[in-house]
């Protein structure tokens, strides 16, 4: 399991949600005592489902793009999560695109966030797979990001 602290809560990152820069309520949750916002790994979740499912937590879960959905036991609990974070190990590894599409098809309505190694040039596709939030390095430029998100105005797959 990867160390989620390396991708979460670091001040060199910023979050873009629905095409605008916004604060990440899950950032620095480790530092804030008794924060309602919790971001867990799949192992943590599996080990303490009952605790994390309690109502007063706003729960996020961190997944790796390479996870095969049948192998991770979260499908029956999607409504528990306010955030699902999918980390891309490499921008050429397209498994996260399928994972995200499936999460949406199986009914996940919360924030679906892409982190890790993806390209600006992939943003439009990622968005169409269901991601609505993206984590970027500090040097990324928001206008360029917005343009990339809007690269295509139509799609052949929308039905």
């Amino acid at each position: 399991m990867s160390d989620i602290n390396s991708t979460v809560g670091s001040s060199t990152k910023f979050l873009v949600k629905h095409s605008t820069v916004c604060d990440d309520p899950w950032a620095n949750t480790k530092a804030v005592k008794n924060s309602r916002y919790q971001l867990v790994t799949i192992d943590q979740w599996l080990a303490s489902k009952d605790y994390y499912s309690s109502n007063d937590l706003v729960l996020g879960i961190h997944l790796l793009g390479e996870y095969y959905i049948d192998d991770i036991d979260i499908l029956d609990h999607l409504e528990v999560f306010s955030l699902i974070e999918v980390e891309f190990a490499s921008f050429t590894d397209g498994r996260g695109f399928s994972l995200a599409t499936q999460l949406r098809q199986y009914g996940f309505k919360g924030e679906l966030r892409a982190t890790g190694d993806f390209l600006l040039d992939q943003l439009n596709y990622l968005q169409r797979c269901g991601f609505d939030a993206f984590e970027f390095d500090a040097q990324a430029d928001i206008t360029v990001i917005q343009e990339a998100l809007a690269a295509f105005s139509h799609s052949y797959q929308s039905g």
């Binding site: 921008f91 399928s98 098809q105 390209l119 596709y125 052949y156």
Partner: protein
């Protein structure tokens, strides 16, 4: 032919803008090499041995005369005056300059053409039967479905970063001219008592591990096509290997899981998500079919047409008469409409690399298409061009015009109609040259009477294991190999793809030959065939009936005799 609507145009426009931006960022140094690589590949751009190579999609092989003229002008203005037809019915430019490519793409878009997904680890341009819509043995015209699949797969957000490239072919005939069983997905259109649908094959492929596809589903209703394709692709995208590019194709996954487990995974996924995909209803299909309706054929009575055909060459001199008749026999084919024939313009006169075509020739082909075939042509897997709708009373005139431009080598479907990849002369991946070997064979077997007597024969040459020429499903396949830095050639016999039931991968006949020994080896193989064939028996039939041993014995006499000696020694 399909005509772009506003959405098609808009998307293409946006894709070109995106690629222009990517190219500029790369040239400025803002986009790293390894990031630009998959992005440019998704747009058909390779960096080759001498220069970039740009591959243009020809959806299911159909081209209009205006597209041909545009390809001609691009060959002139951006390249060295010629382009190349690939074995997947696409067009390649071998010498464009990187900086000029965005402009080139803009010109292509003016005739509704592009390079989207012609390479890279994504769903490639869909291929089909070059005789779609006109073949006598066709049950259902595959082109409307091919176009629907083209649209579904184009700029598909989920399947742009697959483990490896992914190829889909569709056929609607009993004879399989699209080699569907050697594609990642092969779709055979069928009519059953449940209506129209597809037999779905999966996991076929060529390259270093040639495998005939497995049957995934005996019948898929047409309305479920897109949801089912999505389920297959998703299963592959998630479970296909990514650690080793030689084991990353879907054929390896299907083999590793076994077809039953693979099928189960696809079906489960499909049932779960089916509702999220559009249904191909009758209206959608009918709207698409209108783009591929028959041209306005003239009416001929069958008998009149046959008589016309018979008498066409009466006024020619004797030797021209013979040449014309040979051409009629080899380069024209039956058509579903009485009074029409399909005509293959051969792009393989001796000494020209298979599939190469000059700007001048492209213009001429466009003119011929306008004059004789409703302004349309098709590219073929065998790297020729087909005029699909030629009236019999135009054949002589067409032959006379085409002859002036070198399109009438009457060798279609014979030994010298060689399919050949660019090989070591152009391709960075090659182990050996392929073009000079093809030429040496054409020069050796220049006696057309002998070639005709050999009958239908597919000979294909690939410069490396990637097998772009499809040598492993060829009656005779030649493969360039590297032996301690020297170019050698393996010969395979017995491959075939034309028949769904009997399609097979060829077998290597024995140790490889040097380039200069290939024509002799071929001579030996053909001699065995001529000696052993029964009346009217085709080459491939003889190979299947006798097996490889007789050919081995003739090709490697010393080995055979030393084996015999050993056997004899054992007996004593």
């Amino acid at each position: 032919m399909y005509i772009y609507n506003d959405i098609d145009k808009q998307l293409l426009h946006e894709r070109i803008a995106q690629f222009r931006d990517q190219t500029q960022r790369f040239l400025k140094g803002d986009l790293a090499d390894d990031a630009f690589l998959p992005l440019r590949l998704q747009n058909g751009l390779y960096i080759q041995r001498h220069a970039p190579m740009l591959r243009v999609a020809v959806p299911y092989g159909m081209l209009s005369s205006s597209q041909l003229r545009k390809l001609a002008s691009i060959s002139r203005d951006y390249d060295k005056g010629y382009c190349h037809i690939t074995t997947r019915q696409n067009i390649q430019f071998n010498w464009p300059k990187l900086e000029t490519i965005p402009e080139l793409l803009k010109e292509l878009s003016e005739v509704e053409m592009h390079t989207i997904q012609t390479s890279g680890n994504c769903i490639r341009n869909v291929t089909s039967d070059a005789l779609a819509g006109v073949a006598g043995d066709e049950a259902i015209d595959p082109r409307p479905y091919a176009e629907l699949v083209r649209e579904w797969s184009t700029l598909h957000p989920e399947f742009a970063f697959l483990p490896r490239k992914f190829k889909i072919a569709i056929s609607g005939s009993t004879q399989d001219r699209a080699s569907i069983q050697f594609h990642d997905i092969g779709l055979q259109l069928v009519l059953s008592d449940k209506g129209r649908g597809f037999r779905v094959f999966v996991g076929g492929g060529l390259g270093r591990t040639p495998i005939k596809a497995s049957l995934l589903r005996e019948f898929l209703p047409e309305e479920d096509l897109l949801s089912y394709l999505s389920a297959i692709l998703r299963t592959y995208n998630q479970l296909g290997r990514r650690d080793n590019k030689y084991k990353a194709r879907i054929k390896i996954l299907v083999r590793a899981l076994g077809i039953d487990t693979f099928t189960q995974k696809v079906e489960e996924q499909w049932l779960r998500v089916k509702a999220h995909y559009p249904v191909l209803d009758q209206k959608t299909v009918e709207l698409m079919q209108q783009f591929f309706s028959s041209p306005s054929y003239k009416k001929f009575e069958l008998e009149d047409a046959e008589l016309t055909l018979k008498n066409l060459s009466n006024n020619l001199l004797e030797h021209s008469q013979r040449a014309f008749k040979n051409w009629l026999m080899r380069n024209t084919g039956e058509h579903k409409i009485p009074g029409y024939r399909t005509v293959t313009l051969s792009l393989k006169p001796t000494g020209v690399p298979a599939g190469d075509v000059t700007d001048r020739q492209l213009d001429v082909i466009a003119d011929l298409a306008d004059r004789y075939s409703f302004g349309e042509v098709r590219t073929t897997q065998q790297q020729n061009i087909v005029l699909a709708d030629v009236a019999v009373n135009d054949l002589l005139e067409l032959w006379l015009s085409a002859k002036q431009y070198g399109f009438t080598s009457a060798n279609v479907g014979t030994l010298t109609d060689i399919t050949c990849c660019p090989g070591g002369d152009f391709c960075a991946l090659a182990n050996a040259k392929s073009i000079p070997v093809a030429e040496a064979i054409q020069r050796r077997f220049d006696d057309m009477d002998y070639v005709y007597d050999l009958g239908d024969l597919a000979l294909k040459i690939s410069g490396c294991m990637n097998g772009c020429a499809h040598h492993s499903i060829s009656h005779i396949g030649i493969l360039g190999v590297d032996k301690k830095g020297e170019e050698f050639y393996q010969i395979m016999l017995g491959g075939s793809a034309g028949d769904i039931a009997t399609a097979s991968v060829g077998k290597v006949v024995g140790p490889s030959f040097s380039a200069s020994d290939i024509p002799d080896a071929l001579d030996t193989i053909l001699q065995v065939y001529v000696d052993r064939r029964l009346e009217n028996e085709s080459f491939i039939h003889v190979v299947n009936r006798l097996g490889l041993d007789v050919f081995k014995a003739a090709l490697y006499p010393q080995k055979a005799s030393s084996n015999n000696n050993r056997k004899a020694a054992k007996l004593h």
